[in-house]
């Protein structure tokens, strides 16, 4: 069988239903094989869009996302998408075409050393040099991408490999002697953790993206209710507990809620699950939770002790470890702490000044009107406002580039999420700057009837950078005004064949959102918000979480 056909058949056996990509000379054989298969292919307008779409598909569905590109520029265009998936541990497999093996190293037309380039941003990658290895490599690639701490895997396919004739025998077993993720959690450590929990007077659970990835939300909430412990999430952990739950304190960190940051700062025990203590979550790490002991549950041993010192390390899968932990802890009342935290919640709610047309209002209304929508975000102020004001109800509902902070991620990711869930409402909460970074995918959405709704919080600025310039650089607004007044998103949308709307004042917000929700086509709404709106509260760079400040 032609190897290209075998590759496509292997994807079918992996249960792959959709591939995002752009063809080209080096991968043309694989595309030829795809022509006869049941796998849907969505031709994006840029390979970055394809990788983000595969990533969004993976994050929304929990399945592996797949992208195809050609060699050279097609391959290098995937790098940002791969790095984004890597930082947020998202399972994608990217197949790139490559020049024929005989030409590798000769600087042939459209040759790029993509395995070398992506080595630091993939969980693993392969350059196939012998056609008879290609099936076992594909098997391994999907296994590695989706197990343990998930992540992107790249498979580079030289053209002569794809034309070779091979036997189709897709391996059932995997032979990776150096790859055995630990899942169960050490019983002794779990017992020690339980002991600390029973002793703690001010326990807080810190839930990260690992809880979502491991589908451990149910176990997390059960543990929280059993102890009971308040739950703070990271940005990536949003959705691990419904944010309307009485024990939920929202997300912590630079723009997190005050009560989440206070609770972490004053707690005497942090039960961290599937998080990596990134600087955006901990604030100044030297002053992070000074009185707390830390239990750290993570599937990746390298995360434990990397950024903060840990008292009880537990290497394992969040779902399994949380379930075990729940069985060995008991309810204990901690009235004083409960009252204190609830008092913070009452005293320091998220708020904003309601004069003018504020972005927060748009998000509050979007939440009221589409509470079950899958929400992706771009990066910047829009991302933080979305995180603050959209109360996430279920895991995989909130999709954002937390680790790499990639502008241009949200829209193609929304496209991928919508492909995974055609019946759901999917919205991308966007900034004007970010939307431009992958705006070309509007054409893809129109072509394939992917009815994503893009809510552009149009402030005419690279707003988050502008905010820093205002607060920390004496209002020297260097290079941040992108003034899109002359560039109407409504007209752009129409030009692409999508629906465009412009909203200039708060009173028009509800109608626009309700209308958009009912339209079974891609919609872009240009919200002309107050450009001076900033994100608060805020932990200034270098400060501790406790030093979180408000607007004045």
């Amino acid at each position: 069988m032609r190897a290209a056909d075998a590759i496509v058949k292997a994807l079918e056996m992996e249960g792959i239903e959709v591939v995002f990509g752009i063809p080209g000379g080096a991968i043309i054989e694989v595309y030829d094989a795809l022509y006869d298969s049941g796998i849907q292919h969505i031709t994006t307008r840029h390979e970055q869009g394809a990788t983000h779409a595969a990533d969004g598909y993976a994050r929304a569905s929990g399945k592996v996302g797949v992208a195809f590109t050609t060699s050279g520029p097609g391959a290098t265009n995937t790098v940002t998408g791969i790095a984004t998936a890597y930082m947020d541990s998202s399972p994608i497999v990217v197949f790139t075409g490559q020049v024929p093996t005989s030409m590798i190293g000769n600087d042939a037309f459209q040759e790029a050393d993509i395995t070398g380039i992506t080595m630091p941003v993939t969980k693993h990658n392969y350059l196939v040099t012998d056609a008879k290895d290609v099936l076992s490599i594909i098997k391994e690639a999907f296994h590695i991408a989706s197990t343990g701490r998930p992540g992107p895997v790249l498979v580079d396919l030289p053209k002569d490999i794809t034309t070779a004739d091979i036997d189709f025998n897709y391996p059932k077993k995997i032979n990776l002697p150096g790859y055995k993720p630990k899942l169960e959690g050490h019983p002794k450590q779990i017992a020690r953790a339980a002991e600390l929990i029973m002793k703690a007077e001010r326990p807080v659970i810190l839930a990260g993206g690992g809880v979502i990835i491991s589908n451990a939300s149910k176990e997390l909430v059960e543990l929280a209710e059993t102890i009971p412990a308040f739950v703070v999430t990271t940005l990536m952990g949003k959705g691990s507990i419904p944010e309307t739950h009485p024990l939920s304190l929202g997300f912590a960190g630079m723009h997190g809620t005050k009560y989440a940051n206070y609770a972490l700062s004053e707690s005497d025990l942090i039960i961290a699950v599937g998080c990596r203590f990134s600087d955006r979550t901990t604030g100044n790490v030297a002053m992070f939770a000074p009185n707390a002991k830390i239990i750290h549950i993570d599937i990746d041993p390298a995360e434990i002790g990397k950024n903060v010192n840990v008292d009880v390390p537990i290497v394992g899968d969040a779902k399994k470890v949380l379930a075990k932990l729940k069985k060995v802890v008991e309810y204990k009342q901690r009235k004083e702490w409960e009252d204190k935290v609830n008092e913070w919640k009452r005293k320091y709610p998220l708020k904003y000044k309601k004069d003018g047309f504020k972005p927060q209002y748009v998000i509050e209304r979007a939440y009221e009107i589409m509470p079950d929508a899958i929400v992706t975000t771009e990066v910047g102020q829009n991302q933080m406002w979305a995180a603050q004001f959209f109360k996430v109800k279920y895991p995989r509902q909130f999709i954002t580039s937390g680790g790499l902070g990639t502008m241009g991620f949200g829209f193609p990711a929304a496209m991928g999420a919508q492909v995974a869930f055609p019946e759901k409402t999917v919205i991308d909460i966007a900034g004007d700057g970010s939307f431009f970074m992958n705006i070309q995918e509007l054409a893809t959405c129109v072509k394939y009837e992917i009815p994503v709704k893009v809510l552009v919080l149009n402030n005419g600025y690279l707003g988050m950078v502008r905010q820093w310039q205002e607060l920390f650089y004496r209002e020297r607004y260097s290079a941040t005004c992108i003034g899109c007044e002359k560039t109407g998103f409504e007209a752009i949308a129409r030009g692409f064949g999508a629906i465009g709307m412009t909203v200039e004042k708060p009173s028009e917000v509800d109608d626009a959102l309700k209308e958009a929700k009912e339209i079974d086509a891609p919609v872009v709404i240009d919200f002309r918000i107050d450009y001076q709106a900033n994100v608060f509260p805020m932990v200034p760079p270098g400060a501790s979480l406790k030093e979180i400040i408000d607007d004045e």
Binding site: M119, P120, K123, H124, L176, P177, G178, D300, A302, K306
Partner: protein, 159 residues
């Protein structure tokens, strides 16, 4: 502090690049690195000497373990046999030859090549011994020097 780490990896193309890439990306400092075959033809062994405190070394070990092709990582501490090999081309005029031969014997080193005005001397041993011998040779004038990285093995029967 210097730490010696032994890494058993699958003998596949690109593994060395992966390890090197990891050290560079994480900002770990490689003091020396030696790679070679093992008792099994599908595995190779890297002996890496890294500079750093315990926390750094813990991260090095954990990150190395994460590489898919890594089979086993172990830190080699006190109770081990460690060897380096060094070739030194040293200036050896007739009047100094006797001295150099004597020092070579004391260090159980070997003269492996003799020419009109120089020797090539091969010395093996742990790091301190090799360094000490090199220092002694300096007074005669070292013309060329090639030193391997360290290889090491824990003493006693294999676990």
């Amino acid at each position: 502090m210097k730490h010696t780490i032994a890494v058993l990896v699958e003998n596949k193309p690109g593994v060395l690049a992966r390890v090197a890439s990891l050290f560079r990306r994480r900002g770990f400092n490689i003091d020396s690195l030696s790679v070679g075959t093992t008792e099994r033809e599908d595995l190779s062994r890297m002996t890496i000497v890294v500079e750093g405190d315990d926390k750094v070394v813990e991260q090095v070990i954990k990150q190395l373990n994460k590489l898919i092709e890594t089979i086993k990582v172990s830190e080699i501490s006190e109770s081990s046999v460690e060897r380096e090999l060094c070739l030194i081309r040293v200036h050896a005029p007739p009047e100094k030859r006797g001295e150099i031969v004597e020092l070579t014997n004391i260090f159980r080193a070997r003269i492996v090549d003799v020419s009109r005005d120089s020797f090539i001397i091969e010395v093996t041993g742990d790091e301190d011994k090799v360094s000490a011998f090199i220092d002694l040779m300096r007074q005669y004038g070292i013309k060329e020097l090639a030193r391997t990285g360290k290889v090491a093995m824990v003493r006693g029967s294999k676990k």
